[in-house]
């Protein structure tokens, strides 16, 4: 599965498990947030990725 902020590219090449990242410069981060908040955001994104990995095609 792929976490990316360049969604059109991922869709063009046919990626089928996709989580939208939090910006090209920090896909799983947030430079503006506090360290704690940033880690929470990252954990949430990876959590979504783990959920996507378990799903079958609809």
């Amino acid at each position: 599965m792929q976490i990316t902020s360049a969604r059109p590219i991922a869709e063009m090449v046919g990626a089928n498990r996709l989580v939208l990242g939090n910006g090209i410069v920090h896909v799983v981060g947030d430079a503006k947030a506090s360290a704690e908040e940033e880690k929470r955001i990252r954990r949430q994104l990876v959590q979504k990725a783990l959920e996507a990995l378990q799903r079958d095609a609809d």
Binding site: M1, Q2, I3, T4, S5, A6, I9, A10, M12, V13, G14, A15, N16, R17, G21, I24, V25, H26, V27, V28, G29, A31, E38, K39, R42, R43, L45, V46, Q47, A49, L50, L53, Q54, R55, D56, A57
Partner: protein, 346 residues
Amino acid sequence: MRVVHYLNQFFGGVGGEESADLTLEARNGAVGPGKLLEQLLGGEAQVVMSLVCGDNYAVENQQAMLAAALEKIAEAKADLFVAGPCFQAGRYGMAAGALCCAVQSKIGIPVITGMARENPGADLYREPLFIIDSGDNPAKMRDVLTRMASLAKKLVGKEAVGYPKEEGYIPRGLIRDQFVEQTAAERLVQMVLAKVKGEPFESEMTAPVFAPVPMPTGVKDLGKAKLMLITDGGLVPKGNPDKIQGSAATRWGSYSIQDCAELRGENYEISHGGYDPQFVRQDPNRLVPLDVMREFEREGAIGELCNVFFSTSGLANPLSNTRRMGREMAEKAKQLGIDAIILTST
């Protein structure tokens, strides 16, 4: 002109799916569609040898099949190598493409094949080869072989080859210099005007078409699965030990994260043009989320995280490169027993 022709077990007249494990076999003279091919090539052309191989054997033992075929083709002193046409048959197309590439580079004679655009072989080999667009209907055999023979004769005679739509081959993505009357700006404005008026126009830059990728089934028990992190954001250890290029990368690396709870900025650098790397440099977990993966591992949400991550740079890279690297990474991940991968892309 001495021609060697490759056929799968079905077109070679040996049998159907039950004969798909047949090893490579050389026959004297033309077999099946080879007879028509010989006739269409005309003149002095003679199919001196037909190579027939089962589809499963050809794909499962590709290296052995290629080695055996190259030896036979060299022995036959061929001037031209023809494979197929393969239509929509995927394994046949994969074998024909691999063979044509090998013959082209190792023996250096002209090669030609034919397959449907949707054939995985076309997707993989359209850049290095002339592949006549065969469509998916084998009833069009004569038509397809006519175009294959016509282009093959040009290749053997070292004549100029026309555009894909003139010759009927699948576009290779080649760029050719040409003198034109109007500048790009003028042509572009004309296209826009035609588009607005609903008139036909032809784009000079068509977007690549990608064959759909079937979605693998979901991971049944993530708590027992072995996961791996891969990134195309160019994160590499300080000093870039594999010299991964920041643009149009031809290499990828595998880097240890054994016993690391998180990634530290002082140990890594970014080899990737295009995006501002300062944020990932400060904290590489923003690209390769090792810190939270370790948490999920401790909590038992995932079984295990692989002790290496793979990395390359995904910038301005030709598809032939990225496909090869993708295949190499997938191969390595399989060897490592990986059940699922999270790829982070910038």
